[in-house]
Symmetry: C2
Subunit: 259 residues, 2 copies
């Protein structure tokens, strides 16, 4: 049974000024009471970083109109969720945390580098059902319109049924095409490798600096992965857990000899 | 069969100036050819962040004497491993990546926030056997002497037998006591929760800022976890994988109705 007005906390990594979080906030406002806590600058690729050793600045904003409480935070996506839960919404039960909609894919191993997903995973670690949403389009003006109904469907499922402890959903949408999204597929995280290179340049003072560049190579083809289904124009959901223990290895390592 | 002189890349998150990486480099020099690529400043709590949108600075140093190639890097621990593999050691086969020894525990859910472990996990993602080492003592002058033999034993096992694809080891040592380390236990990542709070203070201009503080609460007692064994003075090894897919949930979610 749904609460009359579920309490939904929204975060992201592209900053409070991105189009993706505006779209997500509009959609979530149809479903419940929304509070936004998002970074005040780009935090892409921040992984599960948190701010240690320096304090946070947090400021109330009006970016989402007078009816939606919103805050910009100097910290990381994970910091935003912590601050939202333990300070802004202290004492209240948060029914759902949603993160995104990210400008760019967080499928496959990108989940590990993703600030968007770290906000969702942080929520799971705090015992709150959470979903990270990403669109496979990096454009600042990306078209999110084809995602609307799917965001609603997935969020409704989670609000109605909850999620098992420790679980988070990593949802990716294909970029908008004439064909539209074919449907939803629950999939495993594709194994892939970033083929990376560093280019040395010289600054105006003759000192070297290095730009990283890389392409994701899927090494897990035709295996029911998120990358496979995204390539076929499906939206994908990877159920993600933060218990990193490899239980198969845990058994196999019993024969190791450390003496 | 061990190579005559395995090639070992060393990274960490406490910076190239920390005691822990000096200790680890000394130990690894007994075992092979060592190259150090480490952050030029503290990167604790950086999780699996990587540097996107700005370039890296990397400088050769002499911090480990004339016989050990070492580089300080303006990036994150994961950046250090990427730069070590794809630029400094480009074209050479790295036999082992070790990260640490961290000043402070990376047991339980701390693995997700850990820059030390992200360096090791990054190596695994690049197909290199890797180990993250941490000591449950945050002191800058922490005593690492009781870890020496265990670091050697574990690294030797990995050099001799390798690690399955996708696997990394998260090794934690108890702080030094008169009793010493009782032995090694392979364990699962304890489930735990950070009980966090934010304290508001005012800067000299009257503007608020917030300090995060938190205590780890173990909610997974007597379950064969790393926290259990560390409390009994064992060194612990958690086999860690970067495939975050929850395969149980993947099966269970087949009944979800998205239509």
């Amino acid at each position: 049974m749904l609460k009359e007005k579920p309490l939904i906390l929204i975060a992201n990594d592209d900053s409070i000024y991105s189009k993706g979080i505006k779209v997500l906030t509009e959609i979530m406002s149809e479903m419940g009471e929304v509070v936004v806590v998002a970074p005040d600058s780009h935090q892409s690729g921040m992984g599960h970083a948190i701010t240690l050793g320096s304090p946070l600045r947090v400021t109330k904003t009006n970016d989402f109109g007078p009816n939606i409480a919103s805050y910009k935070c100097s910290g990381t996506p994970a910091d935003c969720v912590k601050f939202g839960k333990h300070y802004i919404l202290k004492g209240r039960k948060i029914d759902l945390v949603v993160s995104g909609i990210n400008h760019g894919s967080n499928a496959s191993i990108s989940v590990l580098y993703s600030g968007t997903m770290s906000a969702a995973i942080e929520a799971a670690m705090e015992g709150i059902p959470a979903i990270g949403f990403s669109l496979c389009d990096y454009g600042n003006d990306a078209d999110f319109s084809h995602c609307h109904d799917f965001v609603i469907k997935i969020a409704q499922q989670v609000l109605e049924h909850g999620l098992p402890t420790g679980l988070t959903l990593n949802v990716n949408f294909p970029a908008k095409t004439a064909e539209g999204i074919k449907g939803i597929r629950v999939a495993k995280q594709a194994n892939a490798v970033y083929r990376e290179s560093f280019e040395q340049r010289k600054d105006p003072y003759g000192q070297p600096y290095y730009w990283m560049d890389g392409d994701l190579e899927n090494i897990d083809l035709n295996n029911g992965t998120d990358l496979d289904f995204l390539a076929e124009n499906f939206a994908t959901i990877v159920p993600v857990k933060y218990d990193l223990t490899d239980y198969t290895a845990l058994e196999n390592m019993s024969h190791w000899d450390f003496n």
